[in-house]
């Protein structure tokens, strides 16, 4: 038997090991939401393999009163519902942690660990006694374990009942059986188990007005608020739910009174067709987007070159996953940075936005359409699986109703009649951005021929080298203009003056913030900058220049953002140190702290105190 049991209030990781397709997802979400409703932040993550039914899937919930929403790593409480993964799941529990399992069938002693506190509940026996229908047995088993957990962890039962009532609003027939199952599990635990364990949830007030939402849904909502009317996509994990959420949001927000749709969504035959449709729609004056992942970006390369060169506003949501090829399609990475930044043949550069969470996925998702129209070029919104497919606590969405769509430089029939000089590729304002006309604008003026082949300022075909260079230089000027209008980086100064800095972006954000707190506590100070867009504005390069060494934390093997910094900012490679996490799991503070403190040690920067990635307060009470 274990000597110690982990003790923690509102600060632990509970992991559910389930079988795909067993209906566990909604029960697990219910559990996570109940803790949120008690005012305690949680950060859940789906860890799932690339299949639909019958194989293992995990749901990991970090309960974190301090609001650290990154994956912590490790597991304090394992709900082991999948015999297939038993050994691995049991091995993963931290010493002094808890193992919750279905004790209907006797398990040999060798299948357990002596340093882990075991909680057995005969779930199968309970459901077999209560239900005859096999599907009901399966579904209610999940609710029953949630009920038992509520007793063990002190989750308020009224909160769970309220959530179930909300879930089955309009389907009241299902309400009573679910409540009954909840109590079945809860009562069993109270009667038969020692519920006095070391992990507890205690009501707090740390959630505030934050919302709990998936990044893909938020980005899709951003597309609605950004005025997108045409979406074309091809199913690919982890981006499919973005397109599907767009359909759902549009049905709600974009259905005219007569039932007709103020939008059009096409599930295309492949990613080439998706981006082709986006380009066609955008050329014709509609706001259009596609959602895809790495392999889709690869397929779109030729069209992206056309969109860059022909200057077609278009928006691409890239929900990144681990590559190359199909890589690990259900795991997260930030590995499309370079393939998007320089997508296509010839000299191309594209604008990338890096949202950190669902809130920014919404914001940048909407703003991408203004940027696309303003800059007349493709805009990539770089989500990843971690942001896209997990519900994340974030700031509530907000919108300024006075804000109008910025359609950029569009010449109207009135402008043309007033005699304005129209040259599709003519830089009138010196910012590299020319005027365009929508097809059908004027009977005799303003038409032009769009092509991927070289042309002069008036869109006339030419193979003249000077005209080609003139155009390519203007495109560079336009890219310079982009620097000033893309989202600015956010800097967090260390508590003390320091020669060290760290640059990060996207879904790394919560892990990095947590790591900075831990490092700070140990007396290791770093200024931090969250890059939110490419091209990099001067501030980003200035940040590097004022520090002796800057860590660039990324979730890919090849330090792709660092490569961009070196290449585009002429940064000395010696001053930017890569910190790279790319095993497909979301990056953790533990990883960042360990990498950075190790490096600082080699530089003889000694911490003032010992660096503790795992706070000591969590190890406590001896098990009786």
């Amino acid at each position: 038997m274990s000597k110690y049991a982990i003790e923690a209030v509102n600060d632990f990781v509970i992991k559910f090991a389930n079988v795909n397709g067993s209906g566990s997802a909604s029960a697990n979400t219910l559990f996570a939401k109940s803790i949120l409703r008690m005012g305690v932040p949680v950060s859940p993550r789906n860890i799932f393999p690339s299949n639909i039914q019958g194989l293992p899937t995990w749901y990991e919930v970090r309960v974190t009163e301090d609001g650290y929403l990154a994956r912590r790593g490790g597991c304090d409480f394992m709900v082991a519902m999948n015999p297939q993964t038993w050994d691995k799941d049991v091995a993963e529990i931290e010493s002094g942690g808890y193992l919750f399992y279905d004790s209907t069938r006797q398990m040999p002693q060798s299948k357990f660990r002596t340093d882990v506190h075991v909680i057995g509940i005969p779930l199968t026996e309970i459901v077999n006694a209560a239900y005859t229908d096999p599907r009901q047995r399966q579904l209610f088993k999940n609710i029953i374990y949630v009920g038992a957990l509520s007793a063990l962890l002190d989750v308020e039962v009224a909160v769970l009942e309220q959530l179930i009532a909300e879930q089955y609003k309009g389907k009241e027939k299902l309400l009573a059986p679910n409540i009954a199952a909840l109590h079945m599990g809860r009562d069993y635990a109270i009667t038969h188990l020692n519920c006095n364990i070391g992990l507890k949830v205690k009501r707090a007030d740390n959630v505030g007005d934050r919302i709990f939402v998936e990044g893909n849904s938020a980005a899709a909502l951003g597309a609605v608020y950004g005025g997108a009317t045409v979406a074309a996509w091809y199913p690919i994990t982890p981006s499919s739910s973005l397109a599907e959420a767009f359909a759902k949001h549009c049905k709600k927000f974009r259905t005219a009174e007569d039932g007709k749709a103020k939008y059009a969504i096409v599930q295309a035959e492949d990613e080439l067709a998706s981006i082709g449709m986006v380009i066609g729609a955008a050329w014709n004056g509609a706001r259009a987007f596609t959602a895809t992942s790495g392999p889709g970006i690869s397929l779109m390369q030729e069209f992206l070159g056309l969109a860059y060169f022909a200057e077609i506003p278009s928006v691409i949501f890239d929900v990144q996953r681990a590559g190359p090829s199909t890589g690990m399609p259900t795991r997260t990475q930030q590995s499309d940075v370079l393939s998007c930044a320089y997508a296509s043949h010839g000299d191309t550069k594209h604008v990338l936005l890096f949202p950190e969470d669902p809130y920014e996925s919404f914001k940048f998702g909407a703003e991408a359409f203004n940027l696309a129209d303003r800059l007349q070029t493709p805009i990539f919104v770089m989500l990843d699986l971690d942001i896209g497919m997990n519900e994340r606590l974030c700031k509530p969405f907000d919108w300024d109703d006075t804000q109008q769509m910025d359609r950029g430089k569009v010449m109207t029939a009135e402008d043309l009649d007033a005699g304005k000089d129209f040259g599709r590729y003519l830089d009138v304002d010196g910012d590299g951005i020319p005027y365009r006309t929508y097809p059908g604008t004027h009977p005799t003026k303003g038409s032009y021929f769009t092509r991927g082949t070289s042309r002069d300022r008036y869109a006339r075909y030419t193979e003249d080298g000077d005209a080609y260079v003139d155009n390519m230089r203007r495109l560079l000027r336009k890219f310079e203009t982009a620097k000033d209008i893309v989202p600015k980086p956010i800097t967090t100064k260390a508590a003390h003056a320091t020669r060290y800095g760290v640059i990060y972006y996207g879904s790394t954000s919560p892990a990095l913030h947590e790591a900075l707190d831990i490092l700070n506590e140990a007396g290791l100070h770093l200024d931090a900058m969250r890059v939110r867009a490419f091209p990099f504005c001067d501030e980003v390069l200035d940040f590097i220049h004022v520090h002796d060494e800057v860590f660039v934390v990324e979730q890919n093997r090849d330090a792709q953002l660092r490569t961009l910094l070196i290449n585009e900012g002429a940064v000395n490679p010696a001053v930017v140190t890569p910190v790279l996490h790319y095993d497909g799991t979301p990056i953790t503070a533990r990883f960042i702290v360990s990498e950075i403190s190790e490096r600082l040690k080699t530089l003889h920067i000694a911490p003032l105190h010992t660096v503790h990635a795992i706070p000591t307060k969590r190890i406590g009470q001896e098990i009786k």
């Binding site: 909502l221 103020k262 066609g280 014709n284 069209f303 969405f397 097809p439 059908g440 021929f449 092509r451």
Partner: protein, 351 residues
């Protein structure tokens, strides 16, 4: 090809159509294709069709892929917006454009390499989606811009200019369009303007996916003995099933026809397709019979031309998507953006 600039002055006596435009207003830049290229005749037919239909040139959008045929949109409808996209992918760009503004007329111009080889997938899907468009393939059975390789519509046994024999089965785009649900399907020959112009007009007025396969001999690489896409071969093997007159609004039939030789199809926009039958039993409103006829004529080494199939009541992609009547690209802030109140409600549901 010519290096002479087109004169800008119009002859004052040029006839004007109902909109006051002359034929010249539908022309484009001077062609850079080879002298005698069938494609130039097709451009001329498009110009004539649009002029005669009194279409405002700027309300047409012309899109193409890559290749000799795809270069031609520069040579007609100079007051229309044009888009020379990427190889084989015009159908997707046209689909997107059509979704953005349902009020324009969409003219897709492609070739056999563009549509039957690299773009076969997009060709198939644009047909099955029923995009409201006129899709013309200028079919010469050969890659012209890269100098004479066989294309996927070259007949098996056909001889290349260098003497190679094509061993692969030909793809018949008309057969594919039939099977994939296109609602207006024709085939013609660039050398037969009388047949081609009304076919294009009927296609433009058709409110669904209209496809015309135009055999258009390549004078540089595929007009020799042994080619099945040469002027001589096509003239010899051309079997028209009907002659078409397109009538925008119903008028009296003044000429008398032998009983059973005239068939009329009313299109959704009110136009009438008046068909003078050349093949006794051919009924272009019967898709299955039309497919059978195509197979038979192909087995007899005949090239069936004319209006091969038409559905007078077609449906299109906008009907399937149930989109609003206002073009999507004209919807403004108030129509598109739900605002902060809706957002606050949504936030509340996410807690």
């Amino acid at each position: 090809m010519t290096y002479l600039a087109k004169p800008k002055l119009h002859h004052p006596s040029l006839t004007r159509n109902k909109l006051g435009y002359t034929r010249r207003d539908y022309e484009g830049a001077i062609s850079t294709l080879c002298a005698g290229c069938g494609h130039d005749s097709i451009s001329a037919a498009i110009i004539q069709a649009c002029y005669e239909l009194d279409l405002p040139p700027h309300r047409i959008a012309k899109l193409s892929g890559i290749g000799c045929s795809s270069k031609t949109p520069t040579y007609f409808l100079g007051n229309s917006h044009g888009f020379n996209t990427v190889h084989g992918r015009m159908p997707s760009v046209l689909t997107g454009a059509n979704l953005a503004n349902r009020e324009l007329i969409y003219l897709g111009v492609s070739g056999d390499g563009d549509s039957a080889s690299i773009g076969l997938g997009q060709f198939a899907h644009v047909m099955r989606r029923g995009v409201n468009m006129t899709y013309i393939v200028e079919n010469n059975g050969v890659y012209g811009l890269t100098k004479g390789q066989f294309s996927a519509t070259s007949d098996r046994g056909s001889k290349s200019k260098r003497g190679a024999i094509n061993a692969d089965e030909a793809i018949d785009l008309v057969g594919l369009a039939m099977q994939l649900g296109a609602t207006y399907i024709g085939r013609s020959f660039s050398g037969d303007k009388e047949q081609l112009v009304p076919l294009i007009q009927g296609a433009i007025l058709h409110q669904g996916a209209a496809f015309i396969d135009v055999i258009s001999p390549c004078v540089a690489f595929n007009n020799h003995e042994g080619s099945t896409k040469s002027y001589d071969y096509v003239r010899e093997h051309n079997e028209a099933v009907n002659n078409l007159d397109v009538i925008k609004f119903r008028d009296e039939i003044t000429t008398s026809y032998a009983p059973g030789t005239l068939q009329e199809v009313r299109q959704h926009d009110g136009s009438i397709l008046r068909l003078r039958k050349l093949h006794e039993t051919y009924d272009p409103t019967d898709r299955i019979a039309a497919m059978n006829h195509l197979h038979e004529s192909s087995a007899n080494h005949e090239i069936a031309t004319g209006l091969l199939f038409v559905d007078g009541e077609p449906s299109d992609l906008h009907a399937a998507a149930n989109t609003v009547d206002t073009p999507l690209n004209m919807l403004d802030n108030s129509a598109l953006i739900p605002g902060s109140t809706a957002l606050a409600k949504l936030n509340a549901s996410l807690r």
